[in-house]
Structures are given as structure tokens and as C-alpha cells.
Subunit: 299 residues, 2 copies
């Protein structure tokens, strides 16, 4: 288990270097007009993110046999969509966060108008990046835009999850409602990362179904661990103020199930993830070790 | 001339019916979750817009021989992008508009968070709509996503234009700077409407170049007329408070060139538009009458 977690750690570190270099190529320079918007985009994209979603796309794609350079641009497109969602979610009218990953959020460092435009430009650039990826057939590119847009918007996608989450503030939610919020708000983009890797690799429908089951469980482990760390973590580990969920009366697993119940829920999804992997007739060690790593992460 | 303007008026009216019906099919119902976001999207999309961009796409596509049902979904995707940009531009941190087309803007009728999410969801839905249009080949769909995303974002696209426009507030701008703002902020989406229609119809590169020259001129006529009407129009004609540009010290043609100079500039672009059409060996009467119509509109 220890060894397995180390594999994922090394994989994430190596992905991060490749993804950051490709993002740097894809995103306009700060010297290009409109300079303030491009500076804001770069401030948020290069803010020390862990690149979990693009790394998962690479891991799934490689598991099903795709070369890394066929995967890298779509991986970056997903990180752009993730970053745009953070920029918009942090805005005063949304979650009103001043600090993320230990530094000022986009609208604090720049201003609200620039943050809104930076998010809009990033979302647009994500789809441009996929459309312009000449290493992939037109058919695959269309399938990627279709699948990713389905998971990023409404109904059922990431934007729907953020709307649900805002609507749930300041009122009691059931565990079922909370699961739905997580499945959309964080889960949708994590599932589509796995889905996209499998599409590019030309995986079979059965393989896609199994890897989506794995990714669904992985997304829940990721989000519930996040909730858990908000209660138990320090500001230094989190790069943000801990206990914020509880104070904002944000729905969270620890608030509903307590710490022990939350741990049990993480274990349940962990078993689901490994069960799904057992059905895939490919070398799934890396995907297994990613599940271990996400379960044991400390920030 | 009178007759020609009437043709365009009839064409716009007939397009509007088709486009509104298709938008109604493509956009999730208010009963679908997240209901508030979908209600906000429908509030803004069905707010009496003139559907100029999608109608232009249909006109250009038909001029080059494409059947309407191959054009309609991409036309709607462009209207979604246009509407998302209006929702975000109206926000308090941007242009801070309470009224549009005679009724409350999205964040006034709903709230800021919902307006931001409605815009994000609409932009995402636009690309989804194109990706899922099975009447077009994958190659054409990829080309559309590529071209439209290039014109909607940064650098050089609609988001860049809005950023430039915000940066120009409360300071004097030259006519050249103002032209650049217009070419990006309004012009980019009008040019890409023409470009998309030509792509779907399989127009030649030479034809695309000419129709883009026409659309560039048309976009400038459209925007300069807008500036002009802001000075000379009534609130009833405009559906918004006239004189707002001047009070906000927004850059505008009348402020730089005066009313006579502005009229002359409109005429110059009008001649450009017709000159470009003369090079196209297709029946361009409809495109010509659209230029006449835009030049003579009163709101």
C-alpha cells in the first residue's frame, strides 16, 4: 500500500511538469492584449494546483494505451475548465473566498470584472484547445467537446452542482442531497477526465463504463476527504482557512455523518473504486495507486 | 432601397420564429434542475432579442447554398454566446446595467450568482450544441468550434473587446482605439456568424474572405449606429436609458467625431459592405438588403 501511494505521487509529480509546460504554451502570454485578463488567467492557472484532473486523464488514457502527446492538450483543457470554475466560485456573490492555495484569489489580486472575464476566456480557450488538437481525428475531437461540455454545464454537470451547492447554504441537507451536490460539483469533472482519457485511447464501451464507475468513486473519495480535511486540517496544510465550511453552514459529510461516519463512507467508495478496476483487463496498478493516494492525502 | 430594406425585415421576422423555436428545444426547461439557473437563462434568451447574429448566419449560409436545417443549430449556439456575454457584461462589476430591452437584467431579476452561472452554462451549452449537431460532419463541427471559440475569447475576440472597453472607461480614446474595441467586442461575433454560415455551406476560401469583409463592415455599421442611437434615440426606442454612454464616459463615435462625422463613418462602411458583395458570384441581394436594414434601423 505504501509503495503504491508512492507510485501515484511520482506519477502526479511527473504529470505536473508536463501539464504546466503545455498550459504555458497554450495560454496567451501576459504581454498579449488584453494584458490584465491574461495576467489574471496566469495568476489562477499557475497557483500551485495539483493538476489532479489532467493527471487522471493521462493515467486513464495511458492505461488504455494512448500515447501521452495525444492526451496532453485535452488534459490541459480540463484544467482550464477547473480553473475557470474556481475563479467564478470564489467571487463575492458566490463563495466569497479571498484565499486559495495560500494566496489571493483572482478577484482580490485583480478585480471582479477581470476575474469574470478571465473565467469566461478560460472556458472558451478550453474548447478551442480541443478543437485545434490536430493529433486527434475530427470524430474524437467532437466526441470530447460533446462529453466535456455535457459534464461542465447544466443539467447534471459542474455548473449545476455549484448552483445546487449555493442553494443548499444555510439550510439542512440530507446525505442524499449532499451526494448529488458532490457528484455534480466536483464529481462531474473528475468523471469526464477519466472518460476523456478512455475516448482518446479508443477504449471499448464496457471499459468506459468500468472506468467511469472507478472515477465516480474516486471523485467521492476526493470530495469527502476534502470535507474531512476542512475539519481536521491546519491552515498551512489546506492553503485556506480551515473550518470555513462549518462556519458558512456549507453542507459537508462530517456535519451530517460525524468524523467516524465520514471515514466509513470514504472506505466504502474506496472499495467501489478497486472493485471497478478488477473488471478492467488492463494493467490498472496506477489507477489503483491513485485511489490510495487520494484516500491518504493530507491537503 | 426601401424595397430592399423590407426584404431584410421579412427575412429577420421569419428567422426569428425559427430560431426562437429551436432555442426553446435546445435550452433546458425551467422545470429541470437547477431550476433557478434555467429560469435565468430563459429570462435572458427570450427577452425580445432581434436575433441579428443567427439571422446573419442563416443569410450567409443560404447565399452559399446550405439548407436551413444545417444552419439552425449553429445559429442558436451563436445567440447563446451573445446572450451569455450580455448577462455577464450587465453585472455590477462590469457595465452595471439594470435594464435591457425594456426589462430587468438577469442579475436584477434573479441575483448575481445566478447570473454568473447562467452565463457560464450558456457558453458551455453553445459548444455542446455544435458538437451534437449530427447533420454536420465531424470535420465541419470541429472547424465551427475552432472558429467560434477563436472569435469569442481572447486574444482578439469578444472577451478581449469587453476587457478593452472596460479599460477605456473614464479616459479619452482615439478613433483608432474605439474601432479596435468595436471590432472585437461586437464585431468578432458578427464576423464569425458570417464565417460559420460560409463554413457550413462549404464556401470557397475566396468567398469566405469576401463575406468576412462584408461582415466586418456590417459589424461596424451595426455598432456605430448603436452609438448614434444612444445619442439621438428615445428610451422607448432603445429599451434602455439613452445617453448612458456619454454619462458613463464610455468611448463612442459621436463623442469623438460628432453626429455628422459619425454619419459619414457609417456611410463609409456601408460602401465597403456593398463593395465586398460585388465580388461574390452568388445572389447577394439578401446580404445587401441586410446592410441597408442595419444602416436604417431605429433601435
Amino acid at each position: 500500500m505504501k509503495h503504491s501511494t508512492t507510485d501515484a505521487r511520482e506519477f502526479f509529480a511527473s504529470c505536473r511538469t508536463q501539464i504546466d509546460a503545455e498550459l504555458d504554451r497554450l495560454i496567451p502570454k501576459e504581454s498579449e492584449s488584453p494584458q490584465r485578463v491574461h495576467a489574471a488567467i496566469r495568476w489562477s492557472v499557475f497557483a500551485g494546483g495539483k493538476r489532479f484532473r489532467p493527471a487522471l486523464l493521462l493515467a486513464v488514457g495511458q492505461t488504455f494505451g494512448a500515447p501521452t502527446d495525444h492526451l496532453l492538450r485535452t488534459a490541459c483543457a480540463l484544467e482550464m475548465i477547473h480553473t475557470y470554475s474556481l475563479i467564478h466560485d470564489d467571487l463575492p456573490s458566490m463563495d466569497d473566498d479571498d484565499l486559495r492555495r495560500g494566496r489571493a484569489t483572482c478577484h482580490i489580486q485583480f478585480d471582479e470584472a477581470t476575474a469574470i472575464l478571465a473565467g469566461d476566456a478560460l472556458l472558451t480557450l478550453a474548447f478551442l484547445t480541443i478543437a485545434q488538437d490536430e493529433q486527434l481525428s475530427a470524430q474524437v475531437r467532437v466526441e470530447l467537446v460533446d462529453t466535456i461540455a455535457s459534464h461542465a454545464g447544466t443539467p447534471g454537470g459542474m455548473v449545476a452542482g455549484q448552483a445546487r451547492d449555493l442553494a443548499a447554504e444555510d439550510r439542512d441537507v440530507t446525505q442524499e442531497e449532499l451526494q448529488e451536490i458532490h457528484l455534480e460539483k466536483t464529481g462531474a469533472l473528475i468523471r469526464v477526465a477519466a472518460h476523456s482519457g478512455a475516448i482518446i485511447a479508443g477504449a471499448t464501451e464496457e471499459e468506459i463504463n468500468l472506468v467511469m464507475q472507478y472515477a465516480l468513486a474516486l471523485g467521492m473519495i476526493f470530495q469527502i476527504t476534502d470535507d474531512f480535511l476542512d475539519v481536521t486540517g491546519t491552515a498551512e496544510q489546506l492553503g485556506k482557512t480551515p473550518g470555513k465550511d462549518a462556519r458558512a453552514r456549507k453542507a459537508s459529510y462530517p456535519a451530517i455523518l460525524g468524523l467516524e461516519g465520514t471515514r466509513a463512507e470514504i472506505e466504502r467508495y474506496y472499495r467501489d473504486a478497486h472493485l471497478a478496476l478488477q473488471g478492467i483487463k488492463r494493467p490498472t496498478e496506477l489507477l489503483g495507486s491513485i485511489a490510495d493516494f487520494i484516500r491518504h492525502r493530507e491537503a
